[in-house]
Amino acid sequence: MDVLVDGFVQAVRLLLGGDPATWAITALTLRISLTATLIAALVGVPVGAAVALTAFRGRRVVLAAANTGMGMPPVVVGLFVTVLLWRSGPLGAFGLLYTPTAMIIAQAAIATPIVVALVATAVQQVDPDFMVQMQGLGAGRLRALAALLAEARLPLLAAAMAAFGAVVSEVGAAQMVGGNLAGQTRVLTTAAVLATSRGEFALAIAFGLILLVIAFAVNLVLTLAGQHRSVPAR
């Protein structure tokens, strides 16, 4: 139990005491995971909406594939990305392995199926006549689509939060493609694993608590942004 208390004390000290290494790790964690989430949203929202709104052969297969992708083990994604980025691999010329860019690629690959699957579900939930009605009111197709996405904004935000939660907390891919290099690719999860393997349990718990705090902060901001005019009546 002492370890938990020590971990809590250490987390507060590292954050408030302004330990530069901890802040750098925290900032890098946010930078990588938010960028990956943004990429996943930019790819996943249009794809998810398109899958939900258009009829084509194999649509259910695509949906099933996206749903499967939601459960894809990060370590498998990490292995694929590693092999692609190896010096001897197809993208080896770019020298990306063990860089933050490689981690963003892997995390975006993890997050995109989550966004696609959840967005497709969210858009399918909206009244099927909505698009027709909007176009009947004189809205163009794109404008009608924007209105539809605004209508489904809460589930869309939930998709973004699920994607962010998945990537900020995963360790398998971050470790494999990032290499946990101090000052370069060390993020909160890999730092916690390293602290554990060194027997520094309080420090590992401190990193875990910091991770929880920043995940909460990001989710709070997104929740506030989504809810600020839709407070339920008391």
Partner: protein, 279 residues
């Protein structure tokens, strides 16, 4: 509703900008080399001590991949690393004989130790390494193995062979994890295990040192340069810079002093330029 969507996007973009502006937009584009090494050099904290000095002296940034010696050698074989720092002599000699590696130089040594519960149910205290292994197997006492093709696992296998035992059964448990994790499993299960001394000293909780000092427990680290024969993108000049530096007087002195302040004893003995030890 549209404005809400816009505000959500704006907040996302702001978050992203804030995160990008952080101090972590660190340099990485300069000269950097990939070092494949063992978990023991990382878990003991030796690399944290050495690498900043190497970067300051030579300008090379180091990307460290800390894995078992077996995997480190495999990365070298594929040309995915420029230089290796490993401790699995038999596998190293075989690898160098394949011809894709450059120089292989002696860097340092410490030793393996046999650890177990204080009660020592198999009665190995003070026994020679091979004899201790035989007693553990005969007693059917829990032995926790790395089981991961690391230098430590390779040594453990050699000791079993020496003892004439084929380990297996419920008493023989493989973690497939690094040394730190394996030590904790052994402690929790009140089992025996083999560890390098440096990692044991950095986290000794729950285990007692029962057998040490046997010549069969010598743990020797070599640096191995890779060449472009392993892959087009290997940087032989980086490999040479690292090998020359770590066998040079400044690094050797650091290695000899590492751990003294924290553990009151030397964790690694610098060996550069000495004759190869005969195990």
């Amino acid at each position: 509703m549209l404005s809400q969507l816009r505000s959500v996007l704006a907040v996302l973009a702001l978050l992203l900008l804030a995160a990008c502006g952080g101090p972590a937009a660190a340099p990485s584009a300069e000269r950097s080399l990939i070092l494949a090494t063992t978990t023991s050099t990382q878990d003991s904290g030796l690399l944290d001590d050495l690498l900043p000095a190497f970067t300051a002296d030579t300008g090379w940034q180091v990307k460290t991949v800390a894995v078992g010696s077996g995997q480190a050698i495999e990365l070298g074989r594929r040309g995915e690393a420029d230089v290796l720092l490993v401790h699995s002599p038999a596998a190293e000699q075989q690898f160098v004989a394949e011809g894709s590696a450059g120089r292989r130089l002696l860097v340092m040594h410490n030793d393996f130790v046999l650890l177990g519960p204080a009660a020592d149910p198999a009665g190995i205290k003070g026994a020679t390494a091979a004899d201790a292994m035989k007693r553990i197997a005969e007693a059917g006492a829990v032995f926790v193995s790395r089981g991961d093709d690391s230098g430590t696992a390779a040594r453990e296998k050699a000791l079993w062979t020496q003892a004439g035992v084929t380990p297996g059964g419920a008493w023989y448990q493989e973690t497939g994890q690094g040394m730190g994790a394996t030590l904790r499993v052994a402690a929790e299960k009140s089992g025996y295990t083999l560890s390098d001394r440096a990692t044991y000293l950095s986290q000794p909780d729950g285990l007692t040192l029962l057998s040490e000092g046997d010549p069969g427990l010598l743990n020797v680290y070599h640096v191995i340069e890779m060449t472009t024969k392993a892959g087009d993108r290997v940087q032989p000049e980086a490999a040479a810079a690292f090998a020359d530096w770590i066998t040079g007087p400044a690094a050797q002195q650091r290695i000899g002093e590492f751990g003294r302040a924290q553990y009151g004893q030397q964790l690694f003995v610098p060996d550069a330029g000495k004759p190869e030890p005969v195990p």
